[in-house]
């Protein structure tokens, strides 16, 4: 089998050891794979569409763009267990007197980068759907690491910092950042609490063009599926990439993002 060329975005230095490790695993199970790193998801999507890479490890925003640009014919090859049923949290300062979503009117809501699905696009979309008039909310954006689609988590930590020091009374962050920060003891429970949780949506996906051969797609999935949490050779890679196991793809988890991009003109 010819080498599968995979694209990934270098949102952090750890991306290099992650994909070098996964490449070694793929070769061990007889699926030759190599990877290219991109500085942003826009460049990676264009490279996939131009056929320069076979598979792209995409954020939800990149994924729905690939779906649209291929007329819905692109192939989805797999995702992390953590990519399913993602949610965003609206966190508030306890001293701000924000008890309901309507109390957000006239307050400052900190949000993440404009290409972050979990910290900006979907929380604003779901809040509008839930009846919040965003025109009456002062939105404080943290447009850090644009092009990385929120992968770095920096803008979410910026949101929490703005809440901590009172620049905002409310803020939107992904649920994993929120529980991870709490479990690590970096959230003062006397000062911050959750006001609201969004509906669930799905996160990253391996995308391939419609022309990617079936046997190579199957081999790609087989190699992913052979990575085991309890195997010391795989454990560190899975920890770094933020999953316990790879799971089969599904499309329904992206419907809300498509609707949000339509409504926000965000394509």
């Amino acid at each position: 089998m010819s080498t599968i060329v995979l694209g990934a975005v270098a949102y952090d230095a750890k991306v290099v050891p992650i994909w070098e490790g996964i490449r070694a695993h793929f070769r061990e199970v007889g699926v030759p794979m190599d990877f290219c790193l991109f500085s942003n998801y826009e460049r990676q999507v264009e490279a996939l569409l131009a056929g320069h890479v076979d598979v792209a490890w995409d954020t939800p925003l990149a994924h729905v763009r690939v779906r649209r640009r291929t007329g819905g014919a692109s192939q989805s090859l797999g995702m992390r267990d953590t990519d399913r049923d993602f949610r965003a949290k609206v966190v508030v300062r306890k001293d701000a007197g924000v008890r309901t979503l309507a109390d957000l009117h006239g307050r400052t809501l900190a949000v993440g980068s404009r290409d972050s699905t979990q910290a900006r696009i979907l929380p604003l979309h779901f809040l509008a759907q839930a009846g919040v008039d965003l025109a009456r909310v002062r939105v404080l954006p943290f447009d850090t690491d644009l092009g990385k689609h929120g992968d770095t988590g920096t803008s979410e930590l910026d949101v929490l910092a703005a809440l901590r020091d009172g620049r905002a009374q409310a803020g939107a962050v992904g649920d994993l950042v929120w529980v991870t920060e709490q479990a690590a003891g970096r959230v003062d429970p006397a000062r911050l609490e959750v006001l609201w949780t969004t509906p669930a949506f799905d996160h990253c996906m391996f995308d391939a063009l419609p022309s990617f051969p079936q046997d190579r797609a199957r081999a790609f999935w087989g190699a992913l599926d052979a990575m085991k949490w309890d195997d010391p050779r795989h454990r560190r890679l899975l920890e770094l990439e933020g999953l316990r196991r790879w799971v089969a793809p599904r499309e329904e988890g992206y419907a809300s993002l498509v609707a949000a991009l339509d409504a926000q003109g965000g394509w």
Binding site: R87, D175, V179, T180, Q182, A183, E193, W229, P232
Partner: protein, 430 residues
């Protein structure tokens, strides 16, 4: 000695078997990141995968966060109900990832003997495993080990090659028998000896210290190769190293306390000790060092003690000999245990002794050592006394051979094998 009942393991498994049923905790108004995790995580850890935990909470923030936490930790959120009191009860099934291996040591109570807790009783309650997994790393034996950990670079991973059952008892004895080389020797009782006798003491002490240095370096080499599941072996080796450090210390002090100073280090000794240091097999090294070497050393120490020219020398040599007796016991236990489990071992040990003998050529006991031991037994250089000293030295060589034979038979060798091994033993004694 009062005998308490052996530790009960019957109660263990109570927590493990809770997996079948459900467990409930109440986290009150604690937020998820404000203490609730410290209650619910240990409760979940008592369950097997699929086991259900109910969590009662009166915090609205907790209820918002709990499902996300379950998602992050791959537990199965089974939903929540809010009761008439306003409290919410969440139900969660434990996920299958990262479940630590082995049962919890619930209900383990170690016996006391006259108020003391002995390592031997710990070992009886938590026996050595037949094989140890390098993936359990430094996890103490008996701990539940999360799977997926890195493999450690340890290669002594079989009980029958590394950990005889006597290990913990010898460790207990060693700890109780520690002494202080600075204060537990009557240093003010170093005699004012004739110069020739004092120089003989200095030469004897030089030889003893040189051999003791090898006894510190050789076991140290194997300690990091012992799997931590056999920690008592490493602990015993550790305290043995402390013994050897004390012996080096005390012999060098004696050489310099009375004006004799250090003597000569011979090539025969150097070559003999290097061949010990170059051993790579733990059992072969224990056999050469502890059974043959330190065993023979016991006879030498008894000789020096018998002929000690002053009280300080007699005391310090007697104390070192008491320590060495334990080292020889461990070596014997190790070899006896290994011989019983490995029919090829005798052949390997004999080959190791032959290889070592070949590097020694036809060297005899280093001359300066032979002379010093003769003058020591003669208490000086008066000719008729020296004749007696010479006889004593010849008797020592004979006694060393006889006792090596006894020890080898005790270790599990046949008399013929013992004869072969003893005849090939190094003229350096160690």
């Amino acid at each position: 000695m009062s005998e308490a009942p052996a530790s009960g393991r019957g109660a263990r498994g109570a927590a493990g078997s809770a997996s079948a049923g459900a467990v409930a905790v109440d986290v009150g108004d604690l937020p998820l990141g404000g203490g609730a995790l410290a209650v619910l995580r240990p409760a979940l850890a008592l369950l097997a995968p699929g086991g259900v935990l109910s969590v009662r909470s009166t915090s609205s923030g907790f209820s918002e966060d709990f499902a996300s936490w379950c998602r992050a930790e791959r537990h199965d959120d089974l939903g929540a109900e809010t009761g008439p009191d306003g409290a919410t009860t969440h139900r969660v099934a434990r996920g299958a990832d990262g479940v630590a291996r082995g049962p919890r040591e619930d209900g383990m109570r170690l016996p006391r003997r006259d108020g003391a807790l002995l390592a031997a009783d710990v070992l009886a309650a938590v026996p050595f495993p037949a094989r140890a997994d390098p993936g359990s790393g430094f996890a103490p034996r008996g701990a539940q080990v999360e799977p997926g950990g890195p493999a450690y670079p340890v290669d002594l991973v079989e009980r029958d090659r590394v950990a005889p059952p006597e290990t913990a008892r010898l460790y207990d004895q060693a700890v109780a028998a520690q002494w202080d080389a600075a204060r537990d020797v009557p240093w003010d009782r170093v005699g004012a000896l004739p110069p020739a006798l004092e120089r003989a003491v200095g030469q004897t002490m030089t030889f003893l210290a040189e051999n003791e240095l090898s006894a510190l370096w050789v076991p140290a080499k194997f300690l990091p190769r012992v799997h931590p599941a056999y920690a008592e072996v490493a602990m015993l080796l550790g305290i043995t190293l402390a013994d050897e450090a004390r012996h080096i210390d005390v012999f060098l002090k004696r050489a310099r306390a009375g004006g004799g100073g250090l003597g000569v280090s011979h090539v025969t000794t150097s070559r003999s000790l290097l061949s010990l240091l170059e051993q790579e097999d733990f059992t072969e090294a224990m056999f050469l060092l502890s059974v043959l070497g330190e065993g023979t050393f016991l006879d030498l120490l008894r000789y020096v003690e018998t002929h000690a020219p002053d009280e300080a020398t007699a005391v310090l040599v007697a104390r070192a000999r008491a320590d060495e007796t334990r080292h020889v016991h461990f070596g014997l236990a190790h070899v006896r245990h290994a011989l019983a489990h490995d029919s090829t071992l005798y052949g390997r040990l004999e080959a190791a002794v032959r290889r070592r003998a070949a590097t020694m050529g036809d060297a005899g006991v280093p001359p300066a050592v032979q002379d010093a031991l003769t003058v020591l037994a003669a208490r000086g250089t008066e000719p008729r006394a020296v004749a007696r000293g010479h006889e004593a030295f010849r008797a020592l060589l004979h006694e060393m051979h006889e006792n090596r034979m006894k020890r080898l038979v005790h270790a599990g060798f046949t008399p013929e094998q013992a004869q072969t091994l003893s005849d090939l033993h190094t003229p350096n004694f160690m």
